[in-house]
Amino acid sequence: MNIVIGGAAGQGMDTIAHLLGKTLTRLGYGVLLSKDYMSRVRGGHNFSLLRVGSTTPWALATDIDILVALNEETYVVHHKKLRPRASVIFDNALFALPAQEQRGLPTPLGSLARAAGGAILASTVATGAVLSLLGLALPTAEGLIREMFAEALVEQNIAAFRAGYSALLPARPVVAPLPEATPETPQIFIDGNQALGMAALASGCRFLAAYPMTPATGIMTYLAAKQQQYGLVVEQAEDEIAAINMVLGASYAGLRSMTSTSGGGFALMVEGLSLAGMTETPIVVVLAMRPGPATGLPTRTEQGDLNFAIFGGHGEFPRAVLSATNLEDAFYRLNKAFTLADKYQVPVIFLTDQDFADTARSIRPYDFSRLVYERHLATEETAPSPYQRYRLTEDGLSPRAYPGQFAGEVVLADSDEHDEDGHIIEDGAMRKRMMDKRMLKQNALANEMSEPEVYGSTGAEILLIGWGSTYGALREAIDSLQARGKNAAMLHFSDLWPLPLNNVTTLLPEAQYSFCIEGNATGQFSALLRRESGLQTTHLLLKYDGRPWSGEEIVREVEKNV
């Protein structure tokens, strides 16, 4: 069951989609909600796509069962994807559908809204109409309206909702029935940025400095709203250079801290990233990718900054790069990013993209007992007096103390090459020892990387390899290929640098057809894999139109080639 809600920016599509998504989640359905929006505040064509199943769908599908067209453009853009038995909810006072279109359900959204209290309520009227079409009862949605809206707005929204619901009651049988629901299973309905914001909060991150940038901004707004209740600080910096340097200062002073940005902001941060490497200051940088170069497509998705995340920054220094593959995993993986940053005193870059950031799904609630809070700070035993910030040790890890932690001791961090005390040096021997010490940590990080997840048949003939947010699309593709009798499996990387190689070196050579699937134009992961392992897939599938991969597209491309 696929529902598309479209209109101009500012018409309230988000409200409808969120209300529907959450209602269906509470009723026990599995929901995926994806936003497709333009980089503008008013006008244009924005839409939300809800996919509903008895279990939560992994990725988007293209065919449409219910289309809510708040403007004519929505119908024009989407009508080719309407299924034969689909329904189109539209306001016939605003526009008419073509004469041959039999699937229209004219609904006076505007006049019902005005009767309920104002034209702005049209989106709530439409929500009621959709719920009525789906044959669902009122109470769950009404309960949500009471939770979501300010008290003064509740009654008029409920009136609008009921008006929409009643208006379409006679039309119910038109639409395809919903799948089975399992209301007894507890679920949450959450999007990528919210999941990462909550993961940071629950990882003990108490300072975020950032500059707003789509598609990363949701992390910042999530944490900003939690400041008072949970005692954290969110500061909007004057630029991304300030953001990363504030985070470095706070982390140096002992506070778990993070910044979040997209590619253009990350470009300003790489100077600070290098500083984190040299000063051995733990930081987490969430890099939510969007298509570049330069400003690119601000509200679209791409996996174009992998090389930048791994290699960006002047000089050589250790780092880890992890990625968000799906909502279920990303929450715990960001927690791992904080742990690695503290344990190895390195910058950790956490890659997401617009598709992950803006897609909400209904999932099982997170298990907070799986999270760890390990700071790996110096103790009086590990840091004898006089304290030396960069004491040379066998494993390259110098016990990290923060200023004021030990009375009488001082902590000196330096962006120049330095001695064990942190003082500027120029002699070649000490330079080499310090480089060796830092780079030892890169080797240790390699042992911390999770192997890519394997899903599908063992001894598969067709192997799909992906990383980051394409997880859901690949998984749907595997299910679909197997259903069509193909012997297929996927290998999906979440930890990207240092690149874990065990699974891929075993599985890749066994597959007759192997596909590296990426959301970029040059196959950055494929090249990385070749560089690190000498292995190469037989095929490379690349998509760089700013839209996410779907399972259907992958299946189509695979079947062209096997």
């Binding site: 919210q194 629950a202 004057e238 470095l248 500083l275 961090a413």
Partner: protein, 282 residues
């Protein structure tokens, strides 16, 4: 009781006669007189001769990147409101490369003291113009003389709403020490622009040049913003020294409930404390 000797340590890489020496001495004395121990003080700096100060004093130091001395200091104040934070850097670092941070840190108003060694020249890169170099000063890059009018740090700071704005001269060490003490104690962002002769690269603004011109204005009221601005802009034949403006306003830290009470960096935490955060998504 702290002593200046607690702070003074290694040999320096500064030229003999450099204006940085009296500044270092004044700061060590100021910290001692404030009875602060080295572990209670953090100095953030950028890059340049002045920015090497954390290497030549014994205290906590974050010697970061060129132009980026202020943001780490803000972050450190978030981590620990118990730390006394000083930012020490030059005119190029503070007013050129770090100009945007300078403007916005003033707006932000964190409790820190910003000591700018203003020698009106780039020393570490051997003699190019700085943002505060005099018009017409010839250098190996500005070969026919500086054509950009000098940056006016004190006027900018006052215009942006800085609560504490002062000008000192490295040759007036006692006054410098007292001003530093007041700046460190000031609750909010405190700028002290310190006129500092560069004996190697600046042949114009020498000790003698400053001594002829610097004076202490009589009867100046430090709550008079307009008078402060007039003094801030005075330059040339007569250069006023002293605290020009001293009126606190709410600090950056005071806006965050999280920063009331014990420093954030020492608070215990367990993920189970925030398990209720996911209820809003049910």
């Amino acid at each position: 009781m702290s002593k200046a000797a607690d702070y003074l340590t290694k040999d320096t890489a500064w030229c003999p006669g450099c204006g940085n020496f009296p500044i270092r001495q004044a700061l060590a004395e100021a910290l001692a007189e404030l009875d602060l121990a080295p572990h209670q003080v953090l100095m953030c700096s950028g890059i340049g001769q002045a920015a090497k100060m954390p290497h030549y004093l014994r205290l906590n130091g974050f010697n970061g990147l060129h132009g980026r001395a202020l943001p780490p200091a803000v972050g450190a104040r978030v981590a620990s409101t118990a730390l006394t934070v000083i930012v020490e850097s030059g005119d190029g670092d503070s007013y050129g490369e770090g100009g945007n941070h300078f403007i916005h840190t003033i707006r932000r108003n964190p409790h820190l003291a910003h000591f700018v060694h203003n020698n009106q020249v780039y020393g570490l890169t051997k003699g190019q113009a700085s943002p505060t170099s005099e018009l017409g000063m010839q250098t190996n890059v500005q070969t026919t003389g500086v054509v950009l009018p000098p940056f006016q740090p004190l006027a900018v700071a006052l215009t942006m709403g800085a609560g504490f704005v002062a000008r000192c001269f490295a040759g007036e060490r006692k006054h410098l020490k007292e001003t530093m003490m007041a700046a460190i104690a000031f609750p909010g962002y405190a700028l002290v622009d310190i006129l500092q002769p560069c004996v190697t690269f600046n042949k114009i603004n020498t000790y003698a040049w400053y001594k002829e011109r610097c004076y202490f204005p009589a009867g100046h009221e430090t709550s008079d913003w307009q008078a402060a601005l007039t003094l801030a802009r005075q330059w040339g034949e007569h250069i006023p020294l002293g605290i020009l403006y001293n009126v606190p306003r709410p600090t950056f830290e005071s806006h965050f409930p999280a920063l009331a009470g014990a420093p954030l960096n020492g608070r215990p935490f367990s993920p189970s404390e925030v398990v209720g955060a996911q209820d809003e998504f049910r």
